[in-house]
């Protein structure tokens, strides 16, 4: 019986001691870059390669250049499991350590931390995810979502479909199916899709996939079989993607009429269907393969030295490169911030200015070691926190992704008014939303 008492006492003591320890903050002389990642849980299939790519590029800068501007980056991952609750916990645990920028990597988490960003003075980089309306810089000075919003993405998909049909007017009377993950992420494009259906006279069929049934989806695809939509568009994530691709193939849906957003285009998603998935399309905005000097540097300085968690055969897959792309934006924003502020160790406030003046021209991409890796980022400024950069269409050839189209421009004229509208509505609903007080820097 005594042993039990001692044990209880010890548990209590360790609980207390640990709580005290956990609350101590660290001092630092490097730039702290927290990465909210997920290598566990049902979405780890999509999360792991991105986490590796993000981490490895920044680690490579540390190894090759000694950080950015001579200051080492302190890279730290916080595991969220794509769970909003844990994401908020991560935010609370990192906000005291003066983070340069936060990458939430989940639309749900992004929505939760958007209001906190302005209060805690930490910029959020939700790269091509998150709240579409946060592209409006006047209303959301602390949130950035380049290179394109989900609404841009949907407009690019529509442009592609229009190209294949011989004009978007030809869609009149046809049916477009939209299969999406039942989450803030999956629901984002719905208002624009309904707008399109009104403008071009096609019918929209919605197939929502709840998180718990994403590895099954038989009911949804049975409905697809019944409705026979002419095109299928997918906003999926995690285990939902490969399952959907497999089910589409099983149900004999023409794969070259099935288009995923850029988050539904990892190599594992294609592999889920294997040869039968041949022809499946998805948007993409980053280069494929390892044939870029900077990617080779990552291999040389990080992967070959065993400092990465990436499996050798998954190196430089599509989502790995997506993570690298994300980290390039982070690194360039920090570099900009150093230039603007004249400081070496930049704070979140400096990086916010750095992000607002983010400009990566074609020549600069080449300079960074990424020739033709991505479209130039030129449209980001104080009012536009997105840039509305183009993307291209890629196709699964049974074993790998192949680029099949040129850059597709988003329909900015359609998207932008809707963004302004949505941002206005968001601010109205959130009484007490702070007015922008941050000054505007000239683009570098």
């Amino acid at each position: 019986m005594k042993a039990r008492d001692i044990l209880v006492g010890m548990t209590c003591a360790s609980l207390l001691g640990a709580a005290v320890l956990a609350s101590k903050a660290q001092a630092q002389d490097s730039i702290y870059v927290p990465l909210l990642t997920y290598r566990t849980g049902p979405y780890s299939g999509s999360g792991t390669p991105i986490a590796n790519g993000m981490h490895d590029y920044l680690a490579m800068l540390n190894e090759r250049d000694g950080g950015i501007g001579g200051v080492k980056l302190n890279i730290e991952e916080c595991e969220t499991g794509y769970d909003t609750k844990k994401g908020v916990e991560c935010w609370e645990s990192i906000k005291g350590k003066n983070p340069a920028v936060v990458n939430p990597y989940s639309t749900g988490i992004t929505l939760q931390i958007i209001p906190k960003a302005a209060v805690d003075k930490i910029p959020i980089l939700s790269m091509a995810y998150g709240l579409s309306a946060s592209a409006v810089g006047d209303k959301f000075p602390w949130v950035f979502n380049p290179p394109a919003t989900y609404w841009d993405g949907l407009s690019m998909v529509m442009r592609y479909i229009g190209g294949k049909e011989g004009g978007l007017d030809k869609l009149k009377g046809k049916t477009v199916g939209f299969i999406f993950l039942e989450s803030p992420y999956g629901r984002e494009p719905l208002p624009l899709l309904q707008q399109f259906s009104k403008d071009y006279g096609f019918t929209v069929k919605e197939y929502s996939v709840a998180g718990k049934e994403m590895q099954d989806q038989s009911a949804q695809w049975l409905a697809v079989r019944r409705d026979r939509p002419d095109w299928m568009i997918m906003w999926g994530w995690g285990a939902m993607n490969p399952t959907a691709v497999k089910r589409a193939a099983e149900n004999g849906y023409p794969m070259d009429h099935f288009i995923g957003v850029w988050w539904s285009g990892s190599d594992d998603d294609g592999r889920g269907g294997g040869q039968t998935a041949k022809g499946y399309l998805s948007l993409n905005f980053n280069g494929l393969g390892s044939n870029y000097p900077a990617i080779q540097d990552i291999k040389k300085y990080v992967v070959d030295k065993g400092k990465s968690q990436v499996e050798k055969d998954k190196f430089a897959e599509n989502f790995y490169n997506r993570g690298v792309y994300n980290s390039v934006l982070v690194a360039e924003a920090i570099r900009n911030a150093q230039k603007l502020s004249g400081k070496k160790v930049v704070t979140g406030e400096d990086v916010r200015r750095g992000l607002e003046t983010l400009n990566i021209s074609e020549a600069h991409w080449k300079e960074l070691g990424f020739p033709n890796f991505a479209a130039p980022i030129s449209g980001v400024n104080c009012t536009d926190h997105n840039g509305h950069a183009p993307a291209y269409m890629q196709q699964w050839d049974g074993a790998k992704w192949v680029k099949i189209s040129d850059w597709i421009q988003p329909m900015k004229e359609k998207v932008r008014p809707m963004l302004d509208e949505a941002a206005k509505e968001y601010v109205e609903k959130n009484t007490g939303w702070p007015k922008r007080t941050e000054a505007c820097d000239k683009s570098s």
């Binding site: 005594k2 609370e92 302005a118």
Partner: protein
């Protein structure tokens, strides 16, 4: 030693039947309250208050709610998450429709909506028991979750199907929304939790609590003694859901600052159920201990190794957290199947007679 009660004489029935008959317990509670109300807000940093204490208190309240139903009345429920959701969505609707009424009033009032929904889903409890009732409440969980997604009116037609917390004030101090300080929110949560725990304690020690326990121990005997089963069981459902509803409203308004339907998923129900099983069924103290073990332990496991400088990957820590928490749960249940509250009781008994074994 600590618990030597020599010299403490009970001179009235009231003092003999008090909730804390021993002086040391009363002093202990007082010290805990002083630390909670003054010590933590003054000395604690944002992380401790925001990521540890506020959710711990909220989950404790939800655990108390479920404990009233499952621990005291013996009705197994898997709908806790959904009932919390009802509270949160009700509070959201109320404060957006009537923005001038103080938010704390709405947090409390939203509990009544949850209570009404809980009572409706409690109706089958007269005819079915045990696992079968769990299935019936599971239906509540799925149905309500479906409502949170499919009825856009509930989230004011928000594009992302999420509810967002507007800024609200009390006496000129911002208490909800991102600009409210952690200390303010913590004190509000703490006040509500302490007040409602005190109420729960009075309920379970009084006539109603005794009726519930009679039903739990043997419902036919309780019926023969003149306890009307249906109203009593429905009352248990209503009170339990009231607590869960208030906890849910606080969860969104005083902690998250916004939520989507997945927050109130079946996982939430299970988490709360595990809290009361580990903490101790039919014990208010157990609700707090269980919430601490299930909620705070993983946070400590997650954030301590990096603080100690152990070079572990975030994902490895996460996996280890799952394994260690699971192992501890199994260990505690083997060591004391009646829960942590019982463990504390045994320990207290030992302290009273220390250094003698009997």
């Amino acid at each position: 030693m600590l618990y030597r009660e020599a010299g403490q004489f009970k001179t009235s029935y009231a003092s003999d039947q008090a909730v804390f008959p021993i002086l040391q317990d009363r002093v202990g509670i007082l010290i805990i309250l002083v630390i909670a109300f003054i010590g933590i807000p003054v000395t604690g940093n944002d992380f401790l208050i925001n990521a540890v204490m506020i959710p711990f208190l909220i989950f404790s309240l939800a655990a108390i709610g479920l404990n009233l139903l499952t621990g005291y009345t013996g009705l197994l429920s898997l709908g806790t998450g959904a009932f919390m959701g009802v509270g949160a969505y009700a509070c959201y609707k109320l404060t957006t429709v009537f923005p001038d009424v103080n938010i704390i009033i709405w947090v409390i009032v939203s509990g009544f909506f949850s209570a009404a929904v809980g009572a409706v889903f409690g109706l089958p409890s007269l005819r079915i028991k045990g696992f079968y009732l769990a299935i019936a409440t599971l239906a509540a969980q799925f149905f309500l979750e479906w409502c949170f997604i499919r009825i856009p009116w509930l989230y004011n037609y928000n594009v992302s199907a999420a509810i967002e917390v507007p800024q609200r004030e009390l006496f000129g101090i911002i208490i909800t929304g991102p600009r409210a300080s952690a200390q303010t929110r913590y004190l509000i949560v703490l006040t509500i939790v302490v007040a409602m725990t005190w109420m729960a304690s009075n309920i379970v020690h009084g006539r109603i609590g005794r009726m519930w326990m009679a039903i739990r121990d043997m419902d036919i005997a309780a019926e023969l003694m003149g306890i009307r089963l249906l109203p009593t069981k429905l009352l248990a459902f209503a009170v339990s859901s009231f607590y869960c509803g208030v906890a849910g409203a606080m969860l969104v308004f005083l902690w998250y600052g916004g939520a989507e339907s997945t927050v109130f998923s079946i996982n939430e129900s299970f988490t709360i159920l595990f809290m009361i099983i580990i903490g101790g069924l039919g014990s208010l103290l157990g609700s707090f201990l269980g919430a601490a073990l299930i909620y705070i332990l993983p946070i400590i496991l997650r954030f301590v190794p990096p603080q100690l400088g152990l070079p572990l990957h975030a994902a490895t820590v996460e996996h280890m957290t799952f394994m260690i928490t699971g192992a501890l749960i199994v260990f505690f249940l083997i060591a004391e199947p009646a829960g942590l509250a019982r463990l504390w009781q045994i320990g207290k008994q030992k302290l009273r007679v220390w250094p003698f074994p009997y």
